[in-house]
Every structure is written in C-alpha cells, then in structure tokens.
C-alpha cells in the first residue's frame, strides 16, 4: 500500500479505535469465562481454580434423553418466529407506506409498537385468560364461527404455533421501525421516474420499494438466523406447563429446569457455548452465501 493511501485511510482506522477498546475490554475480556463450560465451576474457587472436567458437561447434556426432542422444538419454534418476524413487519411496513393520511399512519405505527414494551410475565397473564377454552375470547369467536374449542396452552399440538403467533403479534410493530426507515431512505426520484413510466402504486411498490429494502431484509434475516437456538426463554417460561413439555420445551427452559437441582454454571455455560458456535456457523454461512450469490456484504 502506498504511503498516500495510508494517509488517506488513517482517519478511518482511528475512528475504529474507541470501539475496539470497548469491545476488547467488555466483550473479549470476559470471554475467558468460556472455560467454565469445561469446569466443575464453584464460585468460591473462581474461574482458574475450579476443577477441570473437559467435555463432561457436553456429554451430560448429549446423553440426557430429552435433549434431542428439546433441540427439535427449539429449532422449530425459533424458525417459525424468524419467518414470522421477517414477513409480518415487512408487510406491515409496506402497507403503512400506502397510507396517505399522516396522522393515521403515525398513530398506527405508534400503537403497534407498544406491545414490545410489555414484559412476557404480564402478557402471559393476559394470554392465559384470552386463550382459555372455558372463558377466553378467542375460543368464543371460534365457537361463533362453528369451530371446536381449542385448549391452546394445554394441547401440545397447538402450543408451538401459539408461541410463534403470539411472539409475532407482540414484536411485529417494533420490527417495522427498521423497514420504515429503509423505505424512507429510498430516493424519491426513483418513484418520480417510475410514475413517468406509467407505473401505478402497485408497480411502484414492486419495482422500487421492494428492491430498495431487499438488502436490509437479507441483513435482518441473517442476523435472525443467529437466534435459531434462542426460541425465547421469557415467553416459553411464562406460558408453558407440563402438558406441553413435549413440543414446547426449548433448550433454555430445559436447562433451567435441569439446573434447579444444582446451580450448574458449567452446564449453562456449555449450552451457551454450543448455541454460540451454531450461531457463528449459520451467520458465516449466510454471510458467504449472500456475498457469493448477491455480491452483498452483510457487514
């Protein structure tokens, strides 16, 4: 690299310095703690003096009879949430974009963004009432429509879908924020050009808006893939019960229940490490796929 280039680039490197320091200190520093996954960690003994047990924790989890089912549930539920969490905000943002009345648009935007701020503890309390077969409004509506009553939270066939739907309903409004920002950033001259070409609103959406927000969509999907083993502890924990363990139990809730017997930092860290590695693989994969086929660097 020539000296001139270096001089030109230097400010860019300098700009990165503060971020690098923060990350080194507060993210890379604590990563020594990953060794806890290979230890019989006892807090009083500390990280460096606890007994080394190698892969025991991984073996322990692998050998538990429920682990496979739990992993399957986790991936299935997380996958539904990722899909729902991708399309629901995207469609909502596009629909909102078609609203001409500014006040209406802003009100809807603000209102649908609210449930994000309700904690699952509170939402669960409400959902148990709303979904109740004896008195819940949802089952009443189903009854009017001539359907049988459904025990949504007590039936293991329905439970994973209930998780996915309620999660999407709670989060979609918050998810639209990014898409709306992306739509806003579209160059208005593109629309003007499209109109001159005789494109109606639908064609404009199809040929201008959607292509413009594809990169952000790919980006968010990729990042969401990193969560394929995070199916939402808070939500599941507050909604599930023994009748739906078979389909609703996810990695995090399972580890929590197992760990009740003994504060197992080692096991919890091992599971965390496993999840991290899977996330890394998935994110890397989609990163390189996006680069190879769309020539788009996600980050």
């Amino acid at each position: 690299m020539s000296r001139r280039n270096w001089r030109l680039e230097l400010p860019l490197h300098l700009m990165l310095v503060p971020g690098i320091i923060v990350v080194l200190l507060f993210s890379y520093g604590p990563m020594v703690g990953i060794v806890i996954a290979f230890e019989n960690f006892i807090p009083v003994k500390g990280i460096f003096r606890s007994e080394w047990v190698g892969l025991d924790h991984f073996r322990y989890i692998y050998n538990l009879s429920e682990t496979r089912g739990v992993l399957r549930n986790t991936v299935f539920i997380a996958f539904m949430k990722i899909i729902g969490g991708l399309f629901a905000p995207l469609v909502t943002a596009l629909l909102l974009n078609e609203i001409r009345k500014k006040f209406y648009k802003r009100s809807v935007q603000t209102i649908i963004y609210m449930p994000h701020f309700m904690s699952w503890v509170i939402m669960a309390g409400i959902l148990i009432d709303v979904l109740s077969p004896t008195s819940g409004i949802v089952n009443q509506v189903l009854g009017w429509l001539g359907f049988d009553k459904v025990f949504f939270l007590g039936n293991d066939k329905w439970f994973p879908y209930v998780l996915a739907i309620t999660d999407v309903l709670k989060e979609f409004g918050f998810g639209t924020v990014v898409y709306l920002a992306a739509i806003t950033a579209v160059n208005p001259s593109l629309y003007e050009a499209a109109v001159l070409d005789g494109a109606n609103r639908w064609k404009q959406t199809l040929h201008v808006t959607i292509p413009a927000i594809i990169p952000i969509t790919i980006l968010l999907t990729t990042l969401a893939l990193g969560n394929v083993l995070n199916a939402g502890f808070d939500q599941v924990f507050n909604l599930y019960n023994p009748s739906v363990y078979s389909t609703g139990d996810i990695l995090d809730t399972y580890v929590y229940r197992i760990g009740l017997a003994s504060a197992q930092y080692g096991v919890a860290t091992a599971v965390g490490l496993f999840k991290s590695v899977i996330s890394l693989v998935l994110i890397s994969l989609s990163y390189f796929l996006a680069y190879r086929f769309a020539n788009y660097r996600i980050f």
Partner: protein
C-alpha cells in the same frame, strides 16, 4: 400528478385501513388491560372483574406512586442512564459504522474488523467474568457500569453501516475532490443525510437502555442506584406466590399484592419510551425531504 384511483385500488385502500386498524386494536388491548387494572380497586381485581374498563375507578394507585420514593429515584437514574448511554452509543456507533461502510479496497483489514466486532455479538463470557471486569475497573455501583459495558451495540453498528452504504457514493466522492477529509465528510455529508437511520438507531439505543434491567441488579450494590427497569423488575416478577412458604416473604409480597399500584408503576414506566417514537418520527419525514433536495 393525481391519478384517478381504480376500483381495485379503492378496495385495497379500504382493506388496508381496516386491516391496520384491526392490528392496532389487538396491539393496544394488553396495554388497555394494564391501564384499567391500575385504575381499579384491589377488591375488584381480586374478584377478577377487571378486563378493559376500570372497576371502582380511582387514581389512588397513581397518587401512591407519585409519593413512592424508589420509583422517582430510579426514574432519575434511568433518565441519566439514557442521556449518557445513548450519547456514547451513538457516537461510537457512527464512528465504528462509517469506516466499516467502506469497501475492502478503501480500508485495509475491513473484513477482519467487521468479524472482530460481529464475533462479540455471538460469544459472551457470561455473568461472572463480566462482573469481575466491571469490579476490577471500579465501576461497581456507579452509572458507568450501566453505560460502558454496552457502549458499542454491534447490531446497531451493522444497521448503521448498511444505511451508510445506501447513500449515493457520488456525494462523498465529490466532497473528497473538494478537499474534505473523512472526518469532515462524515460530519458534513454523511450524518445530515442519514437522519432517518440515525433516528432509528437512536430509538433502538434508547429502548435498550430504558428496558435493560439485569445489569442494574447485578452491578449496583444498593437499590437506590437501580434504574427504573431494574426497580420495576423487582416488583414485576410475578413470583408464583404459592411456591413460597416463608410467611415473612409471603406477607411482604401480599402487601404488594395491591396490583393496581404495580400496574400503575409498570404503565408509567412505559410512557416515556412510548412517547419517544412519535417524537422521532419527525426525522423520518425530514430525511425524505433532504433526500429530494439534492437531486
């Protein structure tokens, strides 16, 4: 250029308005329930009478909260945290995102840098070592413990750098030809043009600082230093009272069983962050006009 709307377009518009109204209705019901509980009497709540309207209406809970020392103090901590934390977040986010938005050809090690940051999003050392770092830096029990460990939200950096890349390249190129350096370009061209995305990322930063509660509980040695979210967490956790058989604990909790007071605090805790969004929406619009001016 007003086009006459076709009938299908009209149908769509009607559908669109109705559909979004329905979504809004679903979204606001939980909040309405919470609000009604906060305005109802304890007896009515215990008897299961409160759904969407207050029963035995009273402002009692809000009067109580207005005098509740912990609530007010922790609100103050939260405001301080958001002001400090979001400023640092935004500064670092922009500073980090701008270089990373350059092509690999224009910034040596760009890809390496990017992965260096992204890696921290995926792997974490967990609670204990993080605590020890904060402790060894003598940040325990201070506002900095809430601000510094999360000073650089990587997710926001990635969003931001993608927004930056979406800006027309000719702009910064022409700035360079005019003799501006990177600092000037970033400050004079990139940031003003990125107001919608900056508003978005700011919103995320505010929301995450406002909602984050765990660090507050772990890093603070005295509840008087809790931010609001941590304080609310201590009252919100709907402990399964029936699994507690210590009468001591139980009675302390059943005192709090005045659910209207709890609901009032949770509701009030949400109000500021709910108001932020409508406020920031202005910048979404201004971004549009800025964009159109330049062509």
């Amino acid at each position: 250029m007003v086009q006459p709307y076709s009938w299908s377009r009209k149908l769509f518009v009607v559908f669109n308005y109705t559909f979004l109204a329905l979504l809004s209705l679903i979204s606001i019901l939980p909040l309405l329930n919470l609000f009604s509980v906060s305005l109802s009497s304890a007896a009515a709540i215990e008897a299961g009478k409160v759904t969407l309207w207050p029963v035995d209406f009273s402002w009692k809970a809000y009067k109580f909260v207005a005098e509740k020392h912990e609530f007010l103090v922790s609100t103050g901590v939260s405001v301080q945290r958001v002001l400090l934390g979001v400023s640092i977040n935004m500064l670092l986010t922009v500073l980090t995102a701008y270089p990373l938005s350059k092509e690999a050809a224009n910034l040596k090690f760009r890809t390496g840098y990017a992965w260096f940051f992204v890696f921290t999003m995926l792997f974490s050392g967990g609670l204990i070592p993080s605590y020890m770092i904060v402790r060894n830096l003598h940040l325990l029990d201070s506002i900095w413990a809430l601000v510094l460990p999360g000073a650089l939200p990587i997710f926001n950096v990635i969003l931001m750098l993608n927004f930056f890349r979406g800006l027309p390249k000719e702009l910064s190129e022409s700035a360079f030809i005019d003799g501006a350096g990177h600092w000037q370009t970033l400050w004079r061209i990139i940031i003003p043009l990125s107001m919608p995305s900056i508003a978005t990322v700011t919103l995320f930063a505010i929301v995450s600082h406002w909602n984050e509660w765990f660090n507050g509980l772990i890093y603070m040695d005295d509840p008087i230093h809790y931010p609001l979210a941590s304080y609310l967490q201590t009252i919100i956790v709907r402990m399964d009272m029936s699994t507690i058989s210590d009468p001591n604990m139980l009675l302390l909790l059943s005192q709090l069983n005045d659910r209207s007071v709890r609901a009032a605090q949770i509701f009030l805790g949400m109000v500021p962050v709910l108001c932020v969004y409508p406020f920031l929406q202005r910048y979404f619009m201004s971004g549009m006009t800025l964009g159109s001016v330049k062509e």
